[in-house]
């Protein structure tokens, strides 16, 4: 097992509870003697292989790809979202705590109009995973209704037109789906996938970081602070060690 595999393996074991997790509430006297990394703070890489966990439907996968590759298309500045692994990133995120909305306060009651007015944006009791499940189906239904075709079969210009309409809040995706909010969720996630550490399945070959010139998971810029206004030419590094 090389270093890269070792790291992935360790992270996966931690995620699966294979390593001893903290025992829970504890009474501590004296400085804790534990020196190993806390299992729940080890990097947890995206699942690799085994297919999609959440985006299981082929239509859903194609719809996400069609949207993501218009939000981040391939061009002179770098690969497309799907080429950079953003679908794998999204699926992995949705299959974990983020997708399950584990951090969110999802207690009822929710009075949609009142909460939107007070918070300045619509609020939900559904998790990100549930919002994708309903949102993607609504997008497909919208394409079938307006264009008589699958969403992924639409032309790039037509997809851009729909996305622009969603962004502006001008397209109604039907009962239970806020089109504008769903657009924002997808835009947030696709750019996360393009710009997060490759550990999480996206930003393949650090393409997103190369696009802007971000040197990645470096931890010491003291040698560079005084070199003001210079192109430092730093190659990005990831939390995934080189083989």
């Amino acid at each position: 097992m090389n270093r890269r595999e070792a790291l992935f393996s360790l992270g996966s074991m931690a995620a699966a509870g294979g390593l001893a997790s903290r025992a829970g509430a504890a009474e501590l006297k004296g400085f804790p003697k534990q020196t190993a990394m806390s299992a729940d703070h080890l990097p947890t890489p995206a699942r690799s292989g085994g297919g999609f966990q959440v985006l299981k439907s082929e239509t859903d996968q194609k719809t996400v790809k069609a949207v993501f590759d218009r939000l981040i298309p391939a061009d002179d500045f770098g690969p497309s979202a799907s080429e950079a692994g953003c679908l794998e990133f999204l699926d992995d995120q949705l299959s974990g705590d983020y997708g399950a909305g584990k951090a969110l306060y999802l207690e009822a009651p929710l009075s949609p109009e009142n909460e939107e007015a007070i918070m300045g944006a619509p609020q939900f009791l559904s998790t990100p995973r549930e919002r994708y499940e309903t949102g993607l189906k609504a997008l497909e239904a919208y394409a079938q209704e307006t264009d008589g075709a699958a969403f992924h079969a639409l032309s790039p210009d037509r997809i851009d037109e729909i996305l622009t309409g969603l962004e502006a809040g001008e397209i109604d995706l039907g009962e239970g789906v806020n089109g504008q909010a769903f657009f924002e969720l997808m835009l947030q996630n696709v750019r996360e996938g393009y710009l997060a550490d490759p550990l999480y399945g996206g930003n393949r070959d650090m393409a997103g970081w190369k696009m802007i010139g971000f040197p990645g998971a470096r931890y010491d810029y003291r040698p560079y602070v005084d070199r003001r206004n210079e192109d430092l030419g730093l190659t990005p590094v990831s939390l995934i060690p080189n083989d």
């Binding site: 903290r22 829970g24 509430a25 504890a26 009474e27 501590l28 006297k29 004296g30 400085f31 804790p32 020196t35 990394m37 806390s38 703070h41 080890l42 990097p43 218009r70 939000l71 981040i72 298309p73 500045f77 983020y98 584990k102 951090a103 969110l104 306060y105 999802l106 207690e107 009651p109 929710l110 009075s111 009142n114 909460e115 007070i118 918070m119 300045g120 609020q123 851009d160 996305l163 835009l187 750019r191 996360e192 710009l195 997060a196 550490d197 997103g208 696009m211 802007i212 971000f214 040197p215 470096r218 931890y219 010491d220 810029y221 560079y224 602070v225 003001r228 206004n229 192109d231 430092l232």
Partner: protein, 594 residues
């Protein structure tokens, strides 16, 4: 009660900065201290070493070091009469979720408040006349002094700076003004423990520009320390490496001032100290006469309830939770905005802020070279450092050019105005603007009003079935005028520096809500003061209602300075702890007669 623990001299509720500082003082004085912390034990090498920390998605975007809303959130409305709604998603408030509290994931800006900030009511009347003060009060502001002066606070600030290793340059040494430091600061008795940090490209430009405009730029005092340092507790810190993964992250270099880096290594080794982790205090329990409490009721992560008896209870949780715990414990009277009766929940306030963004064609800002507290500031328009005679507001803002981070997800909308946030247009814009963008932040004062307050929510509950805290707040006219004025100064600076395509985000232009804020600085609700009719705590942070309850946090601030709160919280913690072990413990009772 089942699971009643042995009695402690002092129980500390929440082991963040305030709790750690107090526990250190109290255990050193020989008292037996038990701290109870809702979060887990976390330390530098086991939880956020350099191979784990530089991970934006995990720590900044997903905020995994912060307490999730599913554990406890707040509800919010702008004014009475509205139905408050729960804050369901990540938002302005940054509750700590580990031993070390918010002191682990904070940015590190380490300010002393101005002398004026402690005495806004008195000094406004003295400088501008009683009529001016009366007119502000008639408008709805609820100005009141802290019951402690800067001069009295100075030794406690000094103590906290020594523990934290704060980096900076003095601008006022015993009354002597020193160019290059902050000439508006209150007098300090000695230099900072460590020298100021270095300038990035943008800081250097900002410094030259503001100096050229006749202002007084200085490097922000930082808890990202500039060189190795051994603090008075014998704990060694390392130099900041300008890694740019600071706020919302832990620090793998032992260079961000935090309970982990500065206090816990000493505190944990003391035999008279114990911490119960992943254990949440539900409320304090009063004696039958209601004049004191006998301890706190808690529940462990595994759902076991218990009771910790103690002679003294120190409530040192997050600002919101300090207020909530007092209300859940039935200590003191809930503030009522209709009558201004009651003190718990009174004088809630926020931080009035704006940001100004500019673009510099062809520049290499290298924004990834950063630190949570890395910036250059002018205080020429902060507090009462400028004449307000002909202005329609009091207060002001620190105006900083900062280099806190270049995290790519956080900055992905930092593109020239008019560009789309997606498609090739976004890619082209971000590829160019990532290096060319620079920001100025106005961090302003906030004055309390009669209408802004905290109370328990009638509808929504936490995971234990206890009511959430409800916030009723909106910007007031005075603070909106203040930030409008200071934002214009910031725009002038950005223009003078050569910034183009300038964008302004003035947060007081629309109603406050917790998803829009650039600041996390939530204050008040359990304020200190010399009048028990208008304050919950006396000038030693002791409850007027239960004399063996002390509470330290930004909750004790009657108004907000144009600064980050942590240094003032730390200084108040030293003050409260010394009052306990030097005076209270030998002669329990009110330290100030009501």
């Amino acid at each position: 009660m089942a699971n009643e623990r042995p009695k402690a001299d002092v129980v500390i509720v929440g082991l963040g900065w305030a709790g750690s500082v107090m526990a250190e003082e109290l255990t050193r004085a020989g008292l037996n201290v038990v701290a109870i912390e809702r979060g887990a034990w976390r330390d530098t090498s086991t939880d956020f070493p350099p191979a784990v920390d530089p991970d934006e998605l995990r720590w900044h975007t997903r905020r995994e070091l912060l307490q999730p809303m599913s554990v406890e959130t707040t509800t919010f409305r702008n004014k009475t009469g509205q139905q408050a709604a729960p804050v369901r998603n990540w938002n302005a408030f940054q509750f700590g979720w580990n031993v070390g509290g918010a002191g682990t994931h904070w940015a590190g800006m380490s300010w002393r408040f101005l002398p004026w900030d402690f005495e806004v009511a008195t000094q406004t009347a003295e400088r501008y006349g009683q009529e001016r003060l009366d007119s502000l009060m008639a408008e709805g502001l609820q100005l009141q002094d802290w019951g402690v002066s800067y001069e009295e606070m100075a030794p406690y600030y000094d103590r906290f700076e020594r523990i934290a290793g704060t980096s900076g340059k003095a601008g006022n040494l015993n009354g002597q003004k020193i160019k290059g430091g902050n000439v508006f600061e209150g007098p300090r008795e000695r230099e900072y423990p460590t020298p100021q940090l270095k300038d990035t490209n943008w800081m250097s430009m900002y410094r030259q520009t503001t100096e050229g405009m006749g202002y007084n730029p200085f490097t922000i005092p930082a808890g990202n320390i500039s060189q190795a340092y051994v603090n008075p507790l014998g704990v060694t810190m390392g130099p900041c490496t300008y890694c740019g993964f600071c706020d919302f992250h832990g620090c793998g270099n032992f260079s961000k001032s935090s309970p982990q880096a500065c206090i816990l290594p000493a505190l944990m080794r003391r035999s008279n100290f114990t911490v119960l982790t992943e254990t949440e205090v539900l409320h304090a329990v009063k004696h039958e006469d209601g004049k004191t409490v006998k301890g706190v009721k808690f529940v462990t992560r595994d759902g076991e309830e218990g009771f910790q008896p103690a002679d003294v209870v120190c409530i040192t949780a997050y600002q919101m939770d300090n207020v909530r715990l007092m209300l859940l414990s039935g200590i003191g009277e809930q503030y009522d905005p209709a009558t201004q009766q009651g003190t718990i929940g009174r004088n809630y306030s926020y931080q009035t802020c704006s940001s100004v963004t500019g673009f510099f064609s062809g520049a290499k800002m290298n924004p990834f070279i950063g630190g949570g507290a890395l910036g250059v500031q002018i205080d020429d328009f902060n507090g009462d450092n400028f004449d307000h005679s002909d202005l329609d507001f009091i207060g002001g803002a620190g105006i900083m050019g900062y280099s806190t981070n270049g995290r790519p997800i956080a900055n992905m909308n930092g593109i020239r105005p008019g560009n789309k946030r997606w498609g090739s247009e976004w890619k082209e814009a971000y590829a160019r603007d990532y290096q060319e963008v620079a920001n100025i932040f106005c961090q302003g004062t906030s004055m309390p009003t009669r209408d802004a307050y905290l109370s328990l929510d009638p509808t929504y509950k936490d995971r234990h079935g206890q009511p959430l805290l409800r916030l009723t707040f909106d910007w007031n006219r005075n603070d909106a005028s203040m930030i409008d004025y200071t934002t214009k100064k910031a725009v002038e600076i950005m223009r003078e520096a050569g910034g183009e395509d300038i964008m302004v985000d003035n947060q007081a232009e629309a109603s406050w809500n917790p998803y829009k804020q650039h600041s996390s600085h939530t204050i008040g609700g359990l304020v200190m003061g010399s009048n028990p009719a208008t304050s919950a705590l006396n000038p030693y942070l002791q409850s007027w209602d239960c004399h063996n309850v002390f509470s330290v946090g930004a909750s004790a601030f009657p108004n907000n300075g144009g600064y980050n709160p942590t240094l003032t919280v730390g200084a108040l913690a030293v003050r409260a702890a010394r009052a306990i072990h030097e005076t209270y413990i030998n002669n329990p009772g009110p330290l100030v007669e009501a």
